[in-house]
Chain length 447, copies 2
């Protein structure tokens, strides 16, 4: 091999170095932990699917972005572009074995050949959870509780869960005899934040909706206040529409359950203008925004849908779920300065500089690991300065330093790499070891 091949990644793809992969794994671990705690089970599906399974299930855009090719057996195949289409195929295929309600989470990569932009990649991870096979409002409530607990456990407290129910707007449109135009109205309302009231008014009228009705719709979308206040104001506007009243009732059940489970009232609000896609969701809708970074959009979104897998099975499978936007959230945590950049998942490094004492270093490392603290033993007996430089660059929080004299006496120095202060410990008797462990725990801090 005299000619070197240039090492590079494809456009729109990226490597995750430890500094970005460590917090990414923390987020995925947290999602798994919270989902499991609520009884969501993990599943996995193949990255590659028959092309016919994938096409026509998203939008024209996702079809165009699909990575597709012909495999060794002449089959047309594609890489999944989301986890919802594979879930629909999976549910249709296995639901008789799985039974309902079926609660699953799925954390996996998806691929879209879209034009790379800042913060948009052609490969990204989705963290979905869904409950299939029940229309119960309990599943709506649980979805909100999971989103809330997930963000709190990630370390975010200053967020707002925006809720809505598509049936409410449908109820208003029923009353205005505009049911046929619901898609048009939703598409325009979805732009409310971008183009404002006046812009929406123009577009609604351009779509053939009367000035009076357009005003009514905008007034409706602009209702503000506590959930109960909004519900009170909307009740007369949807009165008589079965689905409108049902939508209000489900929102009421949801918000009273959130109150009962001690979710603070400022944490969530009813926002009847959010629609999240035009055709997919049919009931409750969730969006989650960071109060300090509203501009990045929703970091955890979802809602209720009527029939998950109608393309693949005649079995009616309603469901509800949401998805954590892992990469968007990571970007947000970075800009909030919440992440401490580290390149090692082990907080402690043992310097190695007496070759004759290798077994002592190995035993000391083993001892500390058995107390649940991660330790890296530097593999070469280099000069201490070089090893400490390595430790600082990697983000270790403590270095353990011991040479011939210390090891012979059963002692070691713990150097706090933030404050640069050192403390000596006697580690070979049980009491001394306990002090060492406590000292290390204090030095490395929580987690």
């Amino acid at each position: 091999m005299s000619q070197l091949i240039q090492p590079r990644t494809l456009k729109g793809f990226r490597d995750y170095l430890p500094e970005s992969m460590i917090p990414r794994e923390v987020l995925m671990d947290t999602a798994r932990r919270v989902y499991r705690r609520y009884g969501f089970s993990p599943i996995d599906t193949p990255a590659l699917e028959y092309l016919e399974i994938l096409t026509g299930k998203g939008s024209e855009e996702t079809d165009r972005q699909l990575y597709q090719f012909t495999d060794h057996g002449g089959r047309s195949v594609g890489l999944r572009f989301d986890l919802t289409v594979p879930l629909a195929r999976f549910a249709a295929q296995h639901i008789s074995q799985l039974g309902t309600p079926f609660k699953r989470y799925h954390i996996a990569s998806v691929w879209r050949g879209e034009s790379p932009q800042a913060g948009r990649y052609r490969e990204f991870v989705q963290c979905d959870f869904d409950t299939i096979g029940t229309e119960s409002v309990v599943a709506d409530i649980e979805c909100a509780l999971v989103i809330n607990e997930l963000l709190l456990e990630i370390g975010i407290e200053d967020f707002t869960l925006r809720i809505n129910n598509r049936q409410i707007l449908n109820g208003l449109l029923d009353r205005c005899n505009l049911s046929e135009q619901s898609v048009t109205v939703l598409r325009i309302l979805d732009k409310l934040e971008k183009i404002g009231q006046a812009g929406c008014l123009n577009e609604l009228q351009a779509a053939g909706i009367s000035s009076q009705q357009a005003h009514e719709i905008l007034q409706f979308a602009d209702v503000k206040g506590s959930v109960d206040q909004i519900l009170g104001k909307l009740a007369p506007l949807v009165k008589g529409s079965e689905r409108g009243e049902a939508g209000l009732e489900r929102i009421h059940q949801l918000s009273s359950a959130l109150d009962a489970t001690n979710i603070p009232p400022h944490r969530y609000r009813l926002d009847v203008s959010i629609a999240r896609g035009l055709d997919y969701y049919t009931g409750v809708i969730f969006e989650t925004t960071l109060n300090q970074l509203p501009g990045i959009g929703s970091i955890c979104s979802g809602g209720r849908y009527d029939n998950l897998a109608g393309v693949y099975t005649k079995q009616h499978l309603p469901g509800i779920g949401a998805s954590l936007g892992l990469d968007r959230l990571l970007t947000a945590l970075e800009s909030l300065g919440v992440l401490t950049p580290v390149s090692t998942p082990a907080p402690v490094m043992i310097a190695y500089f007496d070759r004759q004492r290798l077994h002592d270093y190995l035993l000391l490392a083993q001892l500390i690991r058995s107390h649940g603290i991660g330790v890296e033993l530097f593999p070469e007996p280099k000069k201490l300065g070089a090893q400490l430089k390595y430790a600082a660059a990697r983000g270790f929080r403590a270095a353990i330093i011991a040479g011939e004299r210390e090891l012979a006496a059963g002692t070691c120095q713990v150097k706090n790499l933030t404050t640069e202060s050192s403390t000596e410990y006697q580690y070979q008797d049980p009491q001394g070891l306990e002090k060492l462990i406590v000292g290390l725990q204090e030095t490395i801090g929580p987690k």
Copy 2:
């Protein structure tokens, strides 16, 4: 959509239902935990790479099995077939930023279009860990310690770590003036277990090796005893060969470190016949076999290599690492009957049958979860029998049953779903709650 699309997976691919995905995630979690504890950092690389990065780096077989196609931008691309080639590309690209030693783990899917056989799939997960940039024997020792700890933590104790060092055989061949034929000899020796001594003897002679030399090689490969005994017998056979002597010395350092760190002597043995691929490994080699299932082959293998990324960079990057064979191990755990089939990661289900008391159920679930116990609240107020049938089918270990009367009195029944016995708890005062938590913990058992 009147015409249904048949829901199916591609040949050689499979869905993981909760029952198989739950233990799979436990294994991956365990691998991550152990790797991190030793200071290995997570990385990730794209599933898709430039084709030129992937071809010619494995074998002719992997080239043939490569999933390759032309992407939207007209680039020739392929899906990675292992995690070693991407690591080599990654290291060549980023090593100046990463610095050495660089310790990484990578748990991810790889794809090979091979003929599906029993237990072989076209998509599977690899769990690799490697230390790049050091030739120190400390990294060899650590690799063995990680394999040992990983298997113990998975719950396997009855295994054997087989070690070897390629330099030892090279030393013998040096002495026999057969260095040129080392690849041939290795290829034949690798078949020793399959074709036996006589078969190897024939093949060695057919390859032009004299009868005396063939006997010497086979005698060498057949040396048995403790590591020290084997080293004693081999010493005269490689005497004078620099690499042969170095190989013995490194094995000695490795085994004495394993003894010093209290790895029981029956847990590992030196087996000079194992070669693990012909060209790749250059130093120590590891294989791990389950004593009760030797036939399934090695479940965790690896070794030391001279130069990871020579195709992509002039920088010399030696390394050592190993890979846990996740799917092979899962199959093994299944046949050993170690796995309890469950389809829920939460051990407790709360039955829901009084709609008026939803908030009480939600609060009780929240209370139990806050004590670290996973709880699923059944979402619909169905008959108790149907809910308990669901709980049994999913593998829940306890069901909490409380109706109007119990909830009004602040009590609930815990039904042990294995023994079918029930106990009543008063959960609204702190002492009662503590008893409930202890009772649940006893019912669900460890983990």
